[in-house]
């Protein structure tokens, strides 16, 4: 941060930050709610389920531990154990104990789960495009980078606290 930024932050009306926060939380909650509703009406599923499927798809054949999975979830967490149990009984995922340490279990995507994920991912992409389509490519990039910087700043402050 250069000297110019320092001066700026003193002169900044704090209302702008408050507004930024309100925009951020409302935008995020609305997007989350909308996509969640769409998954429910279309697939009788949820954003949390999609979130789990996406992470398992990403982790590939190695699977992922329940705690690592919980940590990476984007949407509101809720009761992860119950969520995974229901997804297991629906045949979307399966749980296997680690061959090295039987107290640890890994979660994997089943073929049915992978298929469900791909169908949902296609729709997710279409819906996201409808929502963020109001922004140009440059604006999308700007927004991503601004959010990244907010995140770093908050991380720093949380560590200092």
């Amino acid at each position: 941060m250069g000297g110019a930024d320092k001066t700026d932050s003193f002169a900044r009306p704090s209302k702008q930050s408050l507004r930024a926060w309100l925009h951020l939380i409302k935008c995020s909650k609305r997007v989350e709610q909308t996509i969640s509703d769409l998954f429910r009406t279309r697939y009788n599923s949820s954003l949390s389920r999609f979130d789990v499927l996406a992470q398992l798809e990403h982790s590939g054949s190695e699977g992922i531990t329940t705690s690592a999975l919980a940590q990476g979830l984007l949407a509101s967490k809720g009761n992860i154990t119950r969520l995974l149990d229901r997804m297991i009984s629906d045949g979307l995922i399966e749980r296997r104990p680690s061959s090295e340490d039987r107290r640890v279990s890994y979660v994997f995507l089943t073929a049915k789960g992978a298929e469900a994920f791909h169908r949902m991912a296609e729709d997710h992409e279409v819906w996201s495009e409808e929502i963020f389509g109001v922004l140009s490519a440059t604006e999308l990039e700007q927004l991503v980078s601004l959010l990244d910087r907010v995140r770093r700043q908050v991380d720093d402050q949380a560590r200092k606290r």
Partner: protein, 156 residues
């Protein structure tokens, strides 16, 4: 990469940033409210709503504004009442309807909380210049405006 694929990759990146950034800031605010004022974020939000409205509100008004379930608001108001920040009063024209009012102690405490909350947000967004905060506001505002339209259109 063709333009469409590039775009959808960038949209996905935004999606992967938006929710986590919002929850990170939210977590930090929760932690600070708890440490400094021993209060939860929903409790703070209910007080903010009462202060903003400037008059007692019904439970259903509060719950609609806060987008949480009625059951949640009941618990939140119970705890605020126990802390001596709000009180429940029956609506004069219909005693079956309960109003929630901010009392003097609540108003005083809320003023202190709101000032701290604003100060924290200034700190949390300090990584951006004023111009960048404005840009962030504008972009999020535009995205926020279309979400509702998309939801309505898709429901048909």
């Amino acid at each position: 990469m063709p333009n469409d694929a590039l775009r959808s990759k960038e949209t996905l990146r935004l999606w992967l940033r938006l929710l986590p950034t919002a929850s990170l800031v939210e977590q930090e605010l929760r932690a600070r409210l708890r440490l400094s004022f021993d209060i939860t974020l929903p409790q703070f939000d209910v007080m903010a709503e009462l202060e903003r409205a400037g008059e007692p509100q019904t439970m259903s008004e509060l719950s609609r504004r806060l987008l949480v379930s009625g059951g949640n608001v009941t618990g939140v108001v119970d705890r605020l009442e126990r802390a001596g920040y709000v009180e429940r009063r029956p609506l004069p024209t219909d005693r079956r309807v309960q109003l929630v009012a901010l009392v003097e102690k609540g108003r005083r405490e809320f003023a202190a909380m709101a000032a701290a909350h604003e100060q924290w947000l200034t700190e949390l967004f300090e990584g951006l210049s004023l111009e960048e905060v404005r840009l962030l506001n504008e972009l999020l505002g535009r995205a926020k405006a279309v979400v509702a339209a998309v939801a309505a259109q898709r429901k048909d």
